[in-house]
Amino acid sequence: MPSLLHSLASPARFQRISAHVFPWAAVLATGLIGCGLVWALVFVPPDYQQGDTVRVMYVHVPAAWMSMFCYAVMAVLSVSFLIWKHALADLAARASAPIGAAFTTVALITGSLWGKPTWGTYWEWDARLTSVLVLFFLYLGHMALSNAFDDRERGGRAAAILAVVGAINLPIIKFSVEWWNTLHQPASVLRMDGPTIHSSMLWPLLVMAAGFTAFYVVLLLIRIRSELMARRIEVLQRHRAAEGA
């Protein structure tokens, strides 16, 4: 693992791999999300209870999954940055945070819109909703902390510690609906006894989720490249400042 990460950690290597992966990810993201949209909006039958509101699920659930997935990725990257000091892990974690924050925002807003007609309220302070809100704040804290230092590396390491500490929130989000008697329904897809969604509704959901994942990869590659440039810019600016002195 460390050696693989090390070999990936060189910027030149990353650029090469990213150049190969990027077009595929972009095609996959467009294709899957396109298919998923048509499927979810046109072909999926209305739910026996919720009718057409169930279509919100096709953006809400993948976004909610991605919000947690993105944080898990950040936590793993942060651990590897703290232990093995891969510079690229820092850049990737930094690049992930705004994406995760965006997915969390989507999950919160669409969930709220969905909650009004079904539950009868936009917001309820139950364990699931509250823990996802905490996740959103953690993303904001991570972004603020990683940019709060004059030295980028310092900020990256402080933010990495925060990301690892905040990872304790992930199991709380996942199991909040099982442990507490919440308004939010229990898990439908990722559960021990198999999904409780009918296959005609499950497949488009999985297609959408795959599309969101590909979209995440696209965004991540763009943002890592951007972070690499920002770092290089800082190095060159320091050189110039040193020469000017």
Binding site: L37, L41, V42, P46, G51, D52, T53, R55, V56, V59, H60, A63, P98, I99, A102, T105, V106, I109, T110, L113, W114, K116, P117, F215, V218, L219, I222, R223, R225, S226, M229, A230, R232, I233, L236, Q237, H239, R240, E243
Partner: protein, 56 residues
Amino acid sequence: MAAFLDMGGYAATVWPSYGVTAVILIGLLVFSLRQLAKRREQLDALEAERERSRNP
């Protein structure tokens, strides 16, 4: 078509959800691309400057 847009009476729930998702995700994509372009420009300028100062 009208029935499709009506979403079984839930147009006010379904369409804003998809709209918000699109705005946020595409917004982040556009923002990231523009940031990348801006940084590339800045970096090119700095690299060019460095070249010039190396071989005057």
